[in-house]
Amino acid sequence: MTRRANTDLLSGILGLAIAGVFWWGRGDVGRLSIMFPHALLFLLAAFSVALVVKGLVRPELRSIFAEGDRAKIIGCCAILFVWVLAISYIGFFLSSVAGFWVMACYLASSHRKVTPLLAAKLFCVVLAEVTFFYLIFAKLLYVPLPTGAFFN
């Protein structure tokens, strides 16, 4: 299913929205701190308006979100966020093993049925890989990976 949209108009509106959010959050600061950002916000607004105008006057329809399995994108995105947010709670190692494994199984399911055997094989690979990188970063390079509030 291809969807065609007026991306000029959409990106222009998005630009204006972004400019608006940043304008609201600009903080109560002095002239020196704000003169450049003011100019930037103005430019952003100007380009956005130009795009909106182009979108209305000479729209070029483009297909968006057309390629591939869109559900997988949303799924991946969700898994990534949960993975990262979980790190502060249950520590890097656990959330990475969990997140990696869930993502691997999820992505594999687009080609083949994920049998318990496959899932188990994946789990072993995941465990090995996460342990490998964990050791390198935490032990060799002394990067203090979060151990999770739950365990402290």
Partner: protein
């Protein structure tokens, strides 16, 4: 009978506490540095690390958490660090004084630390290029009086030690300069050598590094800096300006005094040994521990307060 019981109980408590604290440290200590690796805070910490480990008997892990001129690490430290002596953080004056006062949402407070020690001091120095027409501080000030705002003075950061000292100089000498902030000390060297600025107000390490390419008009320390024997102090030339960046280490508020004392002892010993590397680089060693540490913070707060109040008043006018 009751008194004996009381005595016994208190003895047990004291001994117990002593044992509990005598157990300190029994695991690695995390030493957080709120600036980038390779910078002065980092190098100092790396020099201290092996010596601290020797004295304390446990591993000391140096961690970097740069961002916001230190504010990101300091705010997170005050929010999350446990006062058990296993997490300490490098601190800097005047950053921890200036930032909470002059920045909204800096996220921490000047008095939210239990200061362990201030171990060195890099005094501010007024520097010009070797071929500059200003041969002495007097030349500089006379010219500034005649031409307000013409002299451009570069320094590291806004509302930092360099900046506040420049404002103080303006106040004490009754002159108007134009201070131009830069990100860190790095960009200052090409700026002065390339003639883009008239002068620099930076730390004593820069002239020690650049040697005879620059001239130091004055240093903001009590006595002359060992690494710069030809540089007169502001005091010698009639201006009571003493200031610069102090570096120290602090623990979260509420850390037991015994632990702080132990850490202070370890840092003092480390300081004595690293002095031989740091003094030639332009540092002035300090040994302000315990109450002296807190007093130093208060003293510097007072010293800069005039200038800071001016800044705040200037902002309100807008």
């Amino acid at each position: 009978m009751k008194r004996a019981l009381l005595l016994a109980l208190s003895t047990i408590l004291i001994v117990g506490a002593g044992i509990a604290f005598a157990g300190y440290p029994d695991r690695p200590i995390t030493y957080i540095i709120s600036f980038n690796p390779g910078g002065e805070s980092d190098i100092t910490a790396r020099l201290q690390e092996p010596l601290l480990e020797e004295v304390l008997g446990v591993a000391v892990n140096v961690n970097h958490k740069p961002g916001g001129g230190g504010a990101v690490a300091w705010s997170e430290f005050q929010r999350t660090a446990k006062p058990d002596g296993y997490t300490i953080i490098g601190t800097n004056i005047p950053h921890i004084i200036g930032q909470p006062m002059l920045r909204k949402d800096s996220g921490y407070e000047t008095n939210g630390f239990d200061h362990i020690m201030w171990f060195h001091f890099t005094p501010n120095a007024l520097i010009v290029r070797a071929d500059s027409p200003f041969k002495t501080l007097k030349d500089f000030i006379d010219y500034a009086k005649a031409h307000p705002q013409v002299i451009t003075v570069g320094g590291s950061g806004t509302y930092s030690a360099n900046h506040l000292e420049t404002l103080r100089l303006e106040r004490e000498a009754g002159i108007k300069l134009t201070y131009i902030p830069h990100t860190g000390t790095g960009p200052l060297a090409p700026a002065i050598l390339g003639g883009h600025l008239s002068a620099l107000m930076n730390y004593s390490m820069l002239p020690a590094q650049l040697g005879d390419k620059v001239r130091v008009l004055a240093v903001a320390s009590e006595k002359r800096v060992e690494a710069l024997p030809d540089a007169p102090t502001f005091k010698e030339q009639g201006y009571d300006i003493v200031g610069g960046a102090f570096r120290g280490v602090a623990a979260p508020k509420g850390t037991p005094k015994e632990i702080i004392a132990k850490l202070a002892d370890a840092f003092t010993k480390a300081n004595k040994k690293i002095a031989e590397k740091q003094v030639p680089m332009g540092f002035v060693m300090e040994y302000a521990t315990g109450d002296e540490a807190k007093t130093l913070v208060d003293k510097m707060e007072k010293a800069y307060s005039d200038v800071i109040i001016d800044i705040l008043k200037g902002r309100e006018k807008k």
